[in-house]
Symmetry: C2
Subunit: 295 residues, 2 copies
Amino acid sequence: MDFKEELKIRANYAEEIIKKYMPEEVGYQKTIMEAMNYSLSSGGKRLRPVLTLEACRIVGGDTDNAIPFAAAIEMIHTYSLIHDDLPALDNDDLRRGRATNHKVFGEAMAILAGDALLNFAYETMLKESIGKENPERYLRATYEIAKGAGIYGMVGGQVVDVQSENMQIPKEKLDYIHENKTAAMMVGCMRAGAAIGGADEKQMELITDYANKIGLAFQIVDDILDIVGDEAKLGKHVGSDIENNKSTYPSLMGLEKSREIATELIEDAKRSISKVTDDTGFLDGLADYILSRDH
Amino acid sequence: MDFKEELKIRANYAEEIIKKYMPEEVGYQKTIMEAMNYSLSSGGKRLRPVLTLEACRIVGGDTDNAIPFAAAIEMIHTYSLIHDDLPALDNDDLRRGRATNHKVFGEAMAILAGDALLNFAYETMLKESIGKENPERYLRATYEIAKGAGIYGMVGGQVVDVQSENMQIPKEKLDYIHENKTAAMMVGCMRAGAAIGGADEKQMELITDYANKIGLAFQIVDDILDIVGDEAKLGKHVGSDIENNKSTYPSLMGLEKSREIATELIEDAKRSISKVTDDTGFLDGLADYILSRDH
């Protein structure tokens, strides 16, 4: 099957999973459920849950066991977007063509909806894991998500990103931001899926390398598209990095060198994953897609 | 030993545990660690970690296994205070006599520090539970905390509290707020400790009843102290509920009836816990202290 067709099917499946785990909008606290679900259902590529399920599958696991984790990962991703958009942070009014959470529900509710989504992710992962065989796998999987999302992962990267606005920073610091803000959650969600599937340490290492490298390439391509991308296809304004004097791979080493580095990362990622399984069709396709995407 | 002496010893022990689990202030993301630790180390009664350890002990568990949970519970409590104090919520400049987090680190960092503390709580609970005997107990314990902290617990209560500002609400809704905003985390932290200690379902129920009732009494006493309390002892302004036209037990049914209800809750709580163990000295003392406290 064509890769894009396959990705669409898997993303739609992830979409169904997310819907299934959304909190029901009832009770005195109904408004917070509405605020959570408003942002949870606002689309996106759904790459992270797809990665979780695939990491579980390639190590021979039953992907049904990873389903609550696939939903939870999008809850964490969504909370980080809601808080990023707040007036005190990026102060964005629009995301994916819709009003941002605080524009619809007010700032207080948006802060609480983000908090609620982060916490509900853990509630979702843990609740259904109780009573299953191999409980230590679910402890480990939930920990991998927590690590990827936290101060030694996504939040750590966000903080340094916020503090690096409007200044040129060295490549080492930029790599720290990319590795933590973007790649750490991809690593976390693949390691979680692999843990649930019963991966051994060698498989874990190789999957980590794949996830980290596609994450880094993803961010470099994002920064390239901010210069050469098509606004209509991207669905967002381009050129904002240059306007904000933001350090990026293209600003530090030029477009061509940035493309070269992204290409190398993708080749390395594919090499690592080929050592885990022969059945690498989807993950190879995904790596190539990250490199060649125009939106 | 005198109860107050015993409580002090246990609260100091909780303080040591919290210190031990604070993130080290190093790396590019140092500022967020500083912001987290600033609020984590700002004192408080530390009742929640004390309750977790005691719930584990009375069901015959090894309290050492509950130590990371004791630290994590204060991280969650602290995150909720940081976000509560934000300009979009209560807009408080002072807490326990110190500048609030956003006053010291700015609003963006305070939002991220709250997020980071909530997530770090899960990282802390899960990390050390991996590899231990009875992994299903730790899954269950972490779930109990998540439930107590989330939309069917603390966050749910906060949302309805925020939405009920400056209006009179019926007793049923006020009970919902108390049960969720205040009691749910006490229930969560005692159930977590009990789960780690290997409690059976009957013990769980009785401990839940104790925790819920001391939580409700705690909130009623808080509201009574806001009317009759001594500002110097409380370390905060009294009379704010009346100024803000806030619904409370005293406003709905008078001071005397409120005291009666709190007293009944405490008696019921002690009755429940006496069915779990004969060794109820500390928890009886704690229940009485919640009723008779003047700050």
